[in-house]
Amino acid sequence: MSEVFKIAIIGSGPAGMSAAAHAAQKGISHVLLEKTDHLSDTIFRYQKGKHVMATPAVLVLRSDCEFDAGKREKILDQWNADVKAAGVNVRFKAEAKAITGDKGDFTIELTKGEPIRCENIVLAIGTQGNPNLMRCDGAALPHVQYQLDDPGEYTDEHIFVVGSGDAGIENALGLAADAAQGNTVTILNRSADFARAKKANVDNLMAARDAGRMTIMTETSPSLVEPGWITVETPQGSSRYKCDRIIARMGASPPRKFVEAAGLAFASDSPSAFPTLTPTFESSTKPGIYVIGALAGYPLIKHCMNQGYDVVEFISGTTDLEPADEPLLKEKLQGLPGRRSVSEWLEFLRSRVEILNGLSPLQMREFLLDSEVKAYKADEAIFIRNDQGSSLFGIADGSVKVEVDPSNPNITVPIGEGSIFGEVGLISGRKRGATIRAAEPTICIEIPRMAALKLMAQVPEARDTVNRITSERQVLQIFKSGLTPADISEVLATAEVMEIRPGQAIINEGDVSDDLYIIRSGSMIVEKNLGGKPVFMSYVPAGSYSGEMAMIERAPRVATVKAAIRSTVVKLPADPFRRLLARKPELAKRMYDEMKARREINAFIEEQKEEFGGAVDMYSSVANFLIKQGIGEATDVLLIDESLCVGCDNCEKACADSHDGLSRLNREAGTTFANIHVPTSCRHCEHPHCMSDCPPNAIRRGPDGEVFISDTCIGCGNCQRACPYGVIQMDKPPPPKPKLWEWMLFGKGPGPGQPDYEWRKKAAKSGAGAESPKLAIKCDMCSGKAGGPACVRACPTGAAIRVSPDAFLSVARIEKGAG
């Protein structure tokens, strides 16, 4: 009979390793199971010499293993030494296959060797170690691999790369880069295009194909792997090719099946959901199994290591362990009225704010780390109309009043305890629509956008609540006119939230339909067929409505409305809305006036089209070009008028000189149409793609609407990969340059602008600069500089302008063109 361990830890990443080290330190019988032959495979797979950062900086590390920011090698060496010193019982090449049994008597079956028996299990398997596997016959053959460490290792081989993401493309390019290696490289893509990969990578791939260095097979997937051969399914049928090696890069996902098979429940069906846990990391459905680290939703190394320590304390019976983040929360909550302890505050907020009700105390703790709690005096402003902000507020105590009429602050609508506000900014990414003040002494929790989105993904009730309130408020805000929630309840009862693909029409010209649409997120363009050609009429940003003409006049649609980018719209059926108009003459008048204004614009364009067809065509095609460039999701974009640009690159130099010597824009790169050049530079999207997966949550939206990266960036490069416009670069600031006058008078240093690579290398060598990591760098719209963006200020000819799409895509362009 084999030994029964008190704790079996699966996964030896920062979380599992820290748990094992603490168990060893406490003399608890334990075993650490690692699938590979080395510790911490995720960190191990980082490229050589990568600088690993330790965030959040304020969080105290509580672990028996050391960890500090530094090079990958140094950290791995440190951990190996720590694990050895602690006397951890580690078993390499021990991959868990299944977990059976219950608390006190678990059996972990391994893919190889004797099963492990234990009383408790700590699951610390993260999400990275589970690449999506090939599923065809023969996929288990040894020449199928899911990782490529060094492309230089292979020579004279027929290699197939499966996968159309960046990892696959980069691997394929690496293998084909050196013709002397003699590899015959083919990349297989299941779909027709490489939509998931960065443009630069795709361009390189196409160039490599055009140069005859590799083959690309699209709409093709492998169907059979045999030693030395691969059979693939192409649109033309199946064919068999010589193949010595297959590199499959098809992404990774949490090993949900394995976890669920062990009896653990997930919070929702969303792919980003995590297992539900108690405050002691124990599964809420399977006692005795504890989940820590990335699989529990904590991707940062420090969090993971602290949890490893904590979970062993919990298992060994400690109940009064003060969490490592306790001091942070204490600091955050001090100064608030009420003299509550941290856990009392957590419970207070959780039970009172409706959308937080579904959170576990553990989630609540994590949640509060990201959020702010603030007390407001009566009449104190919480935010002001036209402020930038995408955070969500929950009212824990008291109530607030919304100034619905900008011209008269005395007209207010109350929002009571437990409810939320600020959700329109959260969902549409636009400026705040109204000023909100505390109606009485009030305590609110402010939830940043990312935390709010995470909450909505984890807790379905929270998502439904936010959606319901959003539709109601958005209708009230768009139509104003003194409407109350009761007035619009009939309209909302039949409202439908719809997701619209880019280019998909919600309204077709000539159709007989009369529903009204509210653009919740994204944006729409209105086109009308004039003289056989679609002509761009106007741009409809999120937070506006469309389709009122047909509804009011009961006539066929006069124009086509289609999505500029992926959008969400709310469809309001016509009949209840007409009844609402009949009841509310003020609203009817307002909509009628607005319709008249829109009609005038349309008439103007049509009339101009007859007289100055060229100007209108130009306006229409420029608008379409800009929409194609993604301007539809931009809030502020740099454009260059090529009829004025002399190519002096002063914009780039100014950018570099106002940002640590690194330019965040590439003037020359980018696309051009009719004198308008869209350089490679951040557009500050409404819903920034870069924000979608930032582990330290370092990307935020600033007070002027700028999307910026704060100094908590850990240099992981996720944002760079996520940005479809290629405007984020990974770099480290160059050494300081000599003063400008020294350059002007004595020619010292590289002069204005970003110093070239040679100078940087030389200066870095001569100066005793500390090792600085490569961090993500992008435009911050010269945040905090009174004069505004330096690129525009420094343009000598007025070629560089910054515009917002709704201002730029206006008919004023036609008047100028025609005049």
Partner: protein, 293 residues
């Protein structure tokens, strides 16, 4: 959100779409014209009342001289303004606009300051240098107003880096294709690979004369070579000719780009040195006037 209570930063944004010449509806053109008109009116008003036209030594001459000297120094500061990127609000476009029109107004101001008294001395030298600076500046205005269209029309969406990369990749193809060739063929390819000069001196770039471009010569020579009997070699030769033609196209594009850039910069090679010479001559002019008063 920390900014509450209406403290959100309202920053100045340059959103208007006007070039430096039309900046703010020709504001500086109007100011410069007005300045010239006033100065001309005062000058002739004063001149009508005295026997000789007012010279640089008269009270009016001093005023005009002071204004002109001040303007010259301020105009020269554009070079500093352009390079010092401060955080406050300024617009380089507005500076350039003022620079252009006030600079042109110096033609009137300084000419009236001379009282039409010229000679072979440092005073007239300063005047002549100033006119040279203004003339080269006028050339610059022409260049800035007309060349950008050509500059961007020429390159399309190809960047400088891409042009260089294209050349590199064509060279690599030439190198690989030349492997099966015999000695004579390899020589021709080597000529294109090793002796093709992309740019050359400023003058060459400006005139765009690359008459004996090694790639062109290599292409000509290649066509005179006998067709090899070996089919592999013959095929390679054919491909090489195509690649060399592609290379010639890319070279042409890059050289035209450099030519337009050179034209956009060329006038500065007169404007800037002449400005420094002017500042020196101006200093000598002022010092000598006050020393030998």
């Amino acid at each position: 959100m920390t900014q509450v209570g209406g403290h959100h930063t309202e920053r100045v944004r340059q959103r208007t779409h006007e070039g430096f010449l039309r900046h703010k509806g020709f504001r500086w053109a109007q100011i410069a014209t007005l300045l010239c008109l006033v100065v001309v009116a005062v000058y002739f008003f004063v001149a009508a009342r005295i026997a000789e036209p007012p010279s640089g030594g008269s009270w009016l001459g001093y005023i005009l001289g002071t204004i002109s000297a001040g303007l010259i120094v301020w105009l020269a500061c554009l070079g500093v303004r352009k390079r010092v990127i401060t955080a406050g609000h300024y617009s380089l476009k507005a500076w350039v606009s003022a620079h252009v029109y006030l600079g042109l107004s110096l033609v009137v101001l300084a000419t009236l300051h001379t009282g039409f008294q010229f000679g072979w001395n440092v005073h007239t030298l300063a005047y002549a240098l100033m006119m040279l600076v203004i003339a080269s500046g006028a050339l610059g205005i022409w260049a800035y107003a007309t060349l950008p269209q050509r500059l961007h029309g020429n390159r399309g969406e190809t960047t400088r880096k891409q042009m260089l990369e294209a050349l590199e990749s064509l060279d690599k193809q030439l190198h690989d294709l030349a492997l099966p060739l015999d000695r004579a063929g390899a020589e021709v390819v080597r000529m294109s690979l090793e002796h093709t000069e992309l740019s050359g001196s400023f003058w060459r770039r400006l005139t765009g004369s690359y008459g004996n471009c090694a790639n062109t010569r290599a292409l000509h020579r290649l066509k005179t070579l006998p067709v090899p009997a070996d089919t592999r070699q013959a095929e390679a030769m054919e491909k090489i000719a195509t690649v060399m033609e592609q290379k010639a196209d890319v070279l042409g594009l890059a050289r035209r780009q450099m030519q337009i850039t050179a034209m956009l910069e060329g006038w500065l090679f007169v404007h800037i040195p002449a400005t420094f010479a002017l500042l020196a001559a101006l200093t000598a002019h002022i010092v000598s006037v006050f020393t030998y008063w």
